[in-house]
């Protein structure tokens, strides 16, 4: 890292510390935790965009798949649900997958044109109805069991930390499918395809109640860290808190957040280290060569599409890991809260502002933009108060401006993105 980099990081740390001093350490730690997660998402996008020039606007979908993994791994299995139709459901899913695989195999055969298309279509249409016939009764049976509390299959009942790598795997699987279809085509097409897959993932999470309860949400996920109430009952903890002059309630909330921050930092450091190693390795050089000139790289015998697929899967997996961590931090999966502006395009702002192609820059961008995202609201309100202070208290405009201050976020992010692109297109920490 350059001197400028250290300076920027020190400035970022100062921002968090100032937040802690003026607005409370609880908020500062909340920002830090989400900042760590944002930094990981931003690293994932940087792998794809900064290393390889792939334009992925489906980050939200991969993040949500990570969240799904958290539920599927950590929730206890619902035995009644499995008895009601779990195996049938798995069978139906396997049938659906088999139909798809068979269709792809038929398509790959080099035999006659029209016959092949007809057979494939017949297989797909027949397969779809068979699949629905097998799936629907199972889904109905599972969702009928105690719908207000469970009505789904539950998970594996494993520690939630296991979900982090699993989230990465789920996201990688989705990335493989989407990459197979859309990579090798133009960059705009990949963008639209990823935009679509993200919406579909969210639609599945919202609708398939047997999977993760849909919009009824899964709440109360187990934690990798102790609960505040338990800490407050622990005499030793209360005593240590008292030594620092803190009351048990404040101390326990802070301590839980610090523990999360520790866990997240470990993950961030591992991924950052790997990403740095990759960037410096022959593989990283090859990726940059492909990014800078695809034609030349392929003339040198590099398989451009295969490398693109590889880095697309890796970057998406990182986003999936971050998604699982975020759901762990929230303690719940709420499909309704996934918005593309927040989870896809904001991450893009992070990467561009931080410096695409530079891992440290992407991490810095993650922290900085997240801090701004949280801070713009109070700052916007404060600005509006300042602007409207001269107006009459009951003026229509004053009321409207103060009410709309909450909407300042998106505009600010847009202005920042446009300003960086215009005046410092390489970002705060340019690629060397």
């Amino acid at each position: 890292m350059t001197a400028r980099g250290y300076l920027l990081y020190a400035g970022m740390a100062l921002l968090v510390v100032l937040t802690g001093m003026f607005q409370g350490w609880n908020l500062a730690l909340t920002i830090l935790n989400m900042g760590l997660i944002s930094a990981i998402m931003s690293l994932g996008v940087n792998l794809q965009w900064g290393f390889a020039g792939l334009f992925n606007v489906g980050v939200m979908g991969f993040v949500a798949l990570g969240g799904l993994a958290a539920v599927l791994v950590s929730q206890p299995p619902v035995a009644e649900g499995w008895n009601a139709g779990g195996l049938r459901l798995l069978g139906a899913l396997a049938l659906g997958a088999a139909v798809l695989v068979a269709a792809v195999q038929i398509w790959k055969r080099k035999i006659g044109g029209r016959m092949r298309t007809l057979v494939m279509l017949a297989l797909l249409i027949g397969g779809f109805f068979l699949f629905r016939a097998a799936l629907d009764p199972a889904v109905e049976a599972i969702e009928a069991i105690n719908p207000s509390l469970s009505g789904y299959l539950g998970g594996l009942g494993l520690p939630i930390i296991v979900a982090w790598p699993v989230g990465g795997l789920l996201a990688a699987g989705a990335a493989w499918i989407i990459g197979k279809a859309a990579l090798g085509l133009r960059s705009d097409y990949l963008a639209i395809a990823t935009l679509g897959i993200a919406e579909i993932v969210i639609a599945v999470l919202k609708n398939e109640d047997w999977l993760s309860r849909g919009v009824k949400n899964v709440v109360g996920l187990p934690r990798p860290v102790p609960y505040e109430v338990d800490l407050q009952r622990d005499a030793g903890f209360v005593e240590r808190a008292a030594n620092y002059g803190l009351d048990p309630v404040t101390a326990s909330t802070l301590w839980v957040k610090i523990l999360y921050a520790g866990l997240f930092t470990v993950v961030l450091v591992i991924i950052l280290w790997l990403a740095q190693r990759a960037l410096a390795s022959p593989w990283g050089r090859m990726m940059r060569a492909i990014r800078d000139n695809e034609v030349a790289a392929s003339a040198m015998g590099k398989n451009v599409t295969a490398r693109h697929l590889q880095v697309f899967i890796l970057g998406s997996a990182v986003c999936g890991i971050a998604g699982a961590m975020m759901t762990t931090l929230d303690g719940q999966l709420t499909p309704g809260s996934y918005q593309p502006l927040r989870f896809t395009f904001l991450v893009w702002v992070m990467v561009i502002v931080g410096g695409s192609g530079n891992n440290y820059g992407a991490v810095l961008g993650g922290f900085l933009i997240w801090w701004l995202w949280v801070m713009v609201e109070p700052l916007g309100l404060w600005t509006m108060d300042l602007i409207t202070s001269g107006m009459a208290a009951d003026s229509w405009l004053r009321g409207h401006l103060t009410d709309s201050a909450a909407q300042m976020r998106l505009m600010t992010m847009g202005v920042i993105l446009l300003a960086v692109l215009r005046f410092s297109p390489k970002g705060l920490m340019p690629e060397r």
Partner: protein, 337 residues
């Protein structure tokens, strides 16, 4: 025979009529995307929010007109407000181009850079719309609600099924037809339109023959403003206005433009209807129609809905993928790099 008629009426009522209206709205949106792609050569992610902005401008003018007591009889007041809304949106787009896009055009930036820039513009426009009009649901359709409602239709024909044609549906189709006719007249018959097509086909050759690129770009933005605002207002009249739904329209609109062949206006229209009808057909519960058509013992017990309505994105997406895999330039030959 009556059964067949009933089936046709039910199908028209729930599939054909709404599908046609939705298709026309998508087609207008996709025309805007495809024009920008053809002339400026990038995918404009801000298009959904341009539509939202235009609709918002039109709504504000509509409210202004309503407050001074102007209305359009049985037609919605928004139609009078539409030209003013288009003018405001046109000014915004020309301003955006002057302040933001022109810089990158002069630099000959890569298309993907322009796409990222358009994401920034999308944020700003989205924020602007939310800031000015808020995030709530706004219904601004006034005038007559139905051309024919279901009860009148049943009394008129004596069938069991009613066919309701909402006035917004008819307005959508008529307005869209006028807009498309004007656009094609402009592109094919006027000097400026011809220079636009020349610019789209071969930029260097167009420049050599003395076409002023800045003028072509400015005219393009104005046409896009007109198309986007019209599409947005029609969609808003048909459903209701909500800033966020316009952002979500981006996916079907892009799908329509790509399916038709990016850069090809005719393709955009076809693509719009393909996407709209597939969405409606796949998410429609066929039970009613099948009950009329099939003999009693074969009648389905379930709703016969292929996918629940929330999966309509999946439909546009699936069509998009199929077209990309088998015909990457789209149904009509579009540009492909």
């Amino acid at each position: 025979m009556t059964d067949l008629l009933n089936a046709i009426v039910a199908l028209s009522n729930f599939v054909l009529v709404p599908g046609a209206a939705y298709g026309a709205q998508l087609a207008l949106g996709a025309l805007g995307v495809t024009l920008i792609y053809g002339i400026l050569r990038f995918s404009n992610f801000a298009h959904g929010d341009t539509m939202a902005f235009g609709t918002m401008a039109t709504i504000l003018v509509t409210w202004g007109l309503q407050s001074i007591g102007i209305s359009f009889g049985f037609l919605p007041t928004a139609l009078i407000a539409l030209p003013i809304g288009i003018a405001i949106t046109g000014l915004l787009l020309l301003g955006t181009d002057r302040v933001i896009y022109r810089f990158y055009r002069k630099q000959k930036a890569a298309p993907v850079v322009l796409v990222i820039v358009s994401i920034g513009v999308m944020f700003v426009m989205n924020g602007l719309v939310r800031f000015i009009i808020g995030v709530g649901d706004i219904n601004f359709a006034d005038g007559a609600r139905f051309v024919i409602n279901a009860r009148e239709f049943k009394e008129m024909t004596g069938l069991d099924e009613g066919l309701a044609i909402r006035s917004t549906t008819l307005i959508t189709l008529v307005t869209a037809a006028i807009a498309v006719a004007l656009l094609f007249w402009f592109l094919n018959r006027t000097r400026t339109g011809k220079s636009m097509r020349a610019f789209s086909d071969n930029e260097d050759l167009a420049l050599l023959s003395g076409i002023n690129p800045e003028r072509v770009v400015a005219v393009t933005w104005l046409i896009v403003a007109a198309l986007a605002t019209t599409a947005g207002v029609l969609y808003g009249l048909d459903k209701s206005f909500k800033a966020f739904t316009y952002f979500q329209l981006l996916l079907p609109i892009f799908a329509a433009a790509i399916v038709g062949g990016l850069g090809n206006p005719l393709g955009a229209i076809a693509g719009g209807f393909v996407i709209a009808f597939s969405e409606v057909l796949v998410t429609y519960a066929w039970k009613k129609v099948l009950e009329y058509l099939l003999p009693e013992n074969l009648e389905p017990s379930s709703l016969v809905q292929l996918l629940s309505t929330d999966y309509k994105f999946a439909v546009s997406f699936a069509i998009l993928i199929i077209v990309l895999l088998f015909k990457p330039t789209g149904l009509f030959k579009g540009q492909s790099v």
